[in-house]
């Protein structure tokens, strides 16, 4: 177990820089998720941590030791790959014990360690099988078992669940989290799925085009997104965003509709170029609210998602109650003013209450 610090890490492929100096501090035993859209550099950062990509600039330290020039095998890390990277010609036992075989560990030690990992993951019955004969979830477990056998200081996961079907993904998600709670090994996990990030992480690092947009605990990111990117990325369905201006203690949308502002933010925030963000689940049906036209109604059982239109502005509402409205009808809605987020349109930054726009 170890801390990991990434300080001003840069990565360039030739002239093309893909990471522009990112810094993350990871505490001992922490579960950190790097999340972002494809091509944001999250996997590259993980591979730099593993030693599979060299570090163009900055510093990466594992357990206080700078590893910039340490070969992968000496970094004391284990990685689970997106496609699992199981050796197809070796049995589960040989796959899991391969690192020990290379290190010329005695046979009985190898059997003990592989057996221990197999017990943790429930793989005892499958040790003689080949990867081809395993289901997706079992392969995933073998890949994790291979990492556990090495008892590393840091676990690295590179989108490990993206090849599984939706149901298995949810199951493996909790298995990985449980494993982490049991082993308490520092873990860095890469995903593009914000739900995975929200449910698993102690700390989320949101990345976008080679930069870190925000670092924080999952609910902090949800409650106080630092900028428009994080606001749009975290939360599903995504936050509704209206462009307009703040005048007379109200937000005026593009077609002049007045939207209420947070109590604390009424004073001081005046001006144009404001983005008004409200999450679908923070809209409620209110007979005195803003009239919105229903476009599509999507009941999911636990809630009902309704695609709405206010003037030219499309909105999504997620209501706990069952909505009987039909497309074309008018549904009056109003946002919870205290859960509204304001952003500066130009910089994309969050505007905090009381702070001038």
């Amino acid at each position: 177990m170890a801390t990991v610090s990434i300080r001003e890490a840069r990565k360039a492929f030739g002239q093309f820089e893909v990471l522009h100096g990112v810094s993350v501090e990871i505490e001992d035993g922490e579960f950190v998720v790097l999340v972002g859209p494809s091509g944001c550099g999250k996997s590259t950062l993980l591979r730099m941590l593993a030693g599979l990509e060299n570090i163009t600039g900055g510093e990466i330290a594992i357990g206080g030791r700078v590893v910039n020039n340490v070969p992968p095998k000496d970094r004391d890390i284990a990685m689970v790959f997106q496609n699992y990277a199981l050796y197809p010609h070796m049995t589960v036992f040989d796959n899991m014990g391969f690192s020990m075989k290379l290190a010329k560990a005695p046979k009985d030690v190898m059997e003990r360690e592989v057996g221990r990992a197999a017990r943790i993951l429930g793989l005892e019955q499958l040790l003689h099988r080949y990867p081809r004969q395993l289901s997706g979830g079992q392969r995933q477990r073998v890949a994790m078992g291979r990492a556990i056998v090495r008892s590393p200081q840091v676990f690295l996961f590179d989108e490990p669940l993206s090849n599984l079907d939706a149901k298995l993904r949810v199951q493996m998600r909790s298995e990985i989290k449980e494993l982490h709670q049991r082993l308490k090994v520092t873990t860095v996990y890469v995903t593009h799925d914000q739900i995975e990030a929200m449910t698993m992480a102690d700390k989320i690092v949101v990345m976008n085009s080679g930069n870190i947009e925000q670092t924080g605990r999952p609910l902090d990111l949800y409650d106080r997104p630092a900028n428009l990117f994080v606001a749009g990325f975290i939360g599903s369905p995504a936050m509704n965003m209206l462009e307009g201006e703040v005048t007379d203690g109200h937000f005026r949308g593009p077609d002049g509709t007045a939207w209420p502002l947070p109590q604390a933010g009424k004073a001081g925030t005046n001006g144009a170029g404001v983005v008004y963000g409200v999450r679908p689940e923070h809209l409620r049906i209110d007979p005195d609210g803003i009239p919105a036209t229903v476009q599509i109604v999507e009941p999911t059982g636990s809630e009902t998602q309704v695609a709405l239109r206010v003037g030219e502005q499309a909105l999504i509402g997620a209501f706990r109650e069952r909505v009987s409205a039909r497309p074309g009808e008018v549904l009056p809605i109003s946002p919870d003013p205290d859960l509204v987020h304001l952003f500066d349109r130009k910089t994309g930054r969050r505007i905090d209450a009381g702070q001038p726009a």
């Binding site: 992968p72 284990a78 010609h89």
Partner: protein, 319 residues
């Protein structure tokens, strides 16, 4: 829906198919028609010559005179023919040494080309050159390289570098000629091996190497435990083909030495031709050619068993 006027819709008329359409819809006829061209080609150009060759091997046919059935006489004569046994020996030796050479060098070249190199595609094209040049043309080039008087190798070693006093005698005596032909065959065979093994190497997922790297492997261990076992299936196929092509080689030997000096470099194929066409003894030549069949059957069986899908390649059964 307001209107109930059905007649406004177009209804597909029922057309009775013609007898020709019905004939082509009849499966047995269709199968026969579709198989005919391929079966015809195989019969005329494969089965007939093979059958004729085997039949000739049991006759005393010579050029200009159709022979009579003489049973195993040709084969009995062959058993006592020192030249035949020499050709058997050289065919096996030639195949074994050339195959080992081709695979050692071809695998090495494939591993090199699998790395990130500048001008990778151009290098691959250059590697293929010996393969695309017609064999006879490269044989003539080698003939000159091995020439007693004009050999470029002798020129460089003797006249330029001064390492030797006399020119090499490549093709003048038995063993140098045998090794020279093997060298030429290796040169010609490397591209085939290198390119096919390269294709095999590219099917190995790079993440396996990365996983092995993290597992603490050295370069040699990655070759030994990852590359080689995963390459083995394709290696077996390529080796089978290579053995068959090398064992039945004719062009290279015939163009460079014609089996000489003193019949020392005859392969079974060149000896069969020598006896059958210039020598005129079609029956005897055919018998020598037929005697290659057991060797080729053995090579094919080897491939059949070596290629049998290994356990790890088998499908995802859950037993």
């Amino acid at each position: 829906m307001a209107g109930t006027d059905v007649s406004a819709h177009w209804v597909r008329p029922h057309i009775e198919p013609s007898w020709l359409a019905r004939l082509f819809d009849w499966k047995p006829f269709l199968i026969f028609i579709c198989m005919l061209p391929a079966a015809g080609l195989l019969l005329v150009f494969l089965t007939y010559p093979l059958g004729l060759g085997i039949w000739l091997a049991f006759t005393d046919t010579t050029i200009g005179r159709s022979g009579v059935w003489i049973g195993l006489e040709n084969f009995e004569y062959m058993m006592g023919d020192r030249l035949f046994w020499q050709a058997v020996f050289y065919s096996v030796f030639y195949t074994a040494v050339a195959t080992i050479g081709k695979f050692a060098l071809g695998l090495w070249l494939a591993l090199l080309l699998n790395n990130h190199l500048p001008f990778k595609s151009m290098l691959r094209a250059i590697i293929l050159l010996p393969w695309i040049v017609p064999t006879v043309l490269s044989a003539i080039a080698f003939w000159w390289i091995y020439d007693a008087q004009f050999s470029i190798i002798s020129y460089v070693v003797v006249d330029v570098l001064g390492w030797r006093d006399t020119y090499f005698d490549f093709l003048g005596s038995a063993w140098p000629a045998r090794w020279s032909l093997i060298a030429a065959n290796i040169w010609r065979g490397i591209p085939f091996v290198a390119i096919t093994l390269l294709a095999g190497l590219q099917t190995i997922s790079p993440s396996l190497y990365e996983a092995a790297l993290l597992d603490g492997s050295t370069g040699w261990q990655r070759f030994r435990y990852i590359t080689f076992p995963l390459l083995l299936p394709i290696l077996a196929i390529v080796m089978t083909f290579s053995i068959i092509f090398t064992f039945t080689d004719f062009q290279l030997v015939y163009a460079i030495t014609r089996g000489g000096p003193v019949n020392s470099t005859h392969l079974l194929a060149t000896l069969a031709f020598q006896r059958g066409i210039p020598g005129g003894n079609l029956g005897e030549g055919a018998a020598i050619a037929v005697s290659m069949i057991p060797f080729l059957v053995f090579a094919t069986l080897f491939s059949y068993f070596a290629l049998a899908r290994r356990k790890w390649q088998q499908g995802e059964s859950n037993d």
